[in-house]
Amino acid sequence: MTVQEIKEKIQTGLPGSEVEILDPYKDGVHIKAIVKFSGFSGKSILEQHRMVYATLKDELKEEVHALGLETRVS
């Protein structure tokens, strides 16, 4: 699973979202996704994160140890 694929998965699952992936160590492992999405409006942080995780369901069966997540209402 490349960083680009993760980005595309999230954008497909949350249409219209803006996704930025930070890969500070350039290892594709310790990554952080910053997701801005209008559909987060009115949702708790927990619900917002669950929505992002849902788009990565298959990938997260294997533990993605270090996927940091930051969500914002766009």
């Binding site: 942080i45 927990l46 994160h49 995780y53 993605v64 140890h65 270090a66 930051e70």
Partner: protein
């Protein structure tokens, strides 16, 4: 999930007002995210129970299913799943976590 495992997890969560499933122990966290959550709880002066999932593979897998949440650490307050590292940090920053903790 087996009933015994479910009951065990529920029992752990119910044993303290604040309960953390983590990798390692509060004194010796074994991952950066677990360390981050213990730092937040320490800075708030919160007393909490914890479980080291590295010591028990069944709980490590079971807790993910229990919360429908793919990663560890997981923080619970009054039996309610609060979230993982990023959520705990964000809620502490906004003051929402302190409210949940009754501080």
């Amino acid at each position: 999930m087996e009933k015994t495992l479910h009951d065990k997890i529920e029992g752990l969560i119910g044993s303290e007002k604040v309960y953390l499933f983590m990798k390692g122990t509060p004194d010796a966290p074994m991952c950066g995210f677990s360390a981050g959550v213990t730092n937040v709880l320490r800075s708030l002066g919160v007393k909490y129970g914890s479980f080291n999932v590295l010591a028990d593979q069944t709980v490590r897998e079971g807790i993910k299913e229990f919360a429908s949440w793919p990663t560890i650490p997981q923080l619970y307050v009054d039996g309610e799943f609060i979230g993982g590292h990023d959520i705990v940090v964000e809620m502490a920053r906004s003051g929402e976590l302190q409210k949940k903790l009754g501080n």
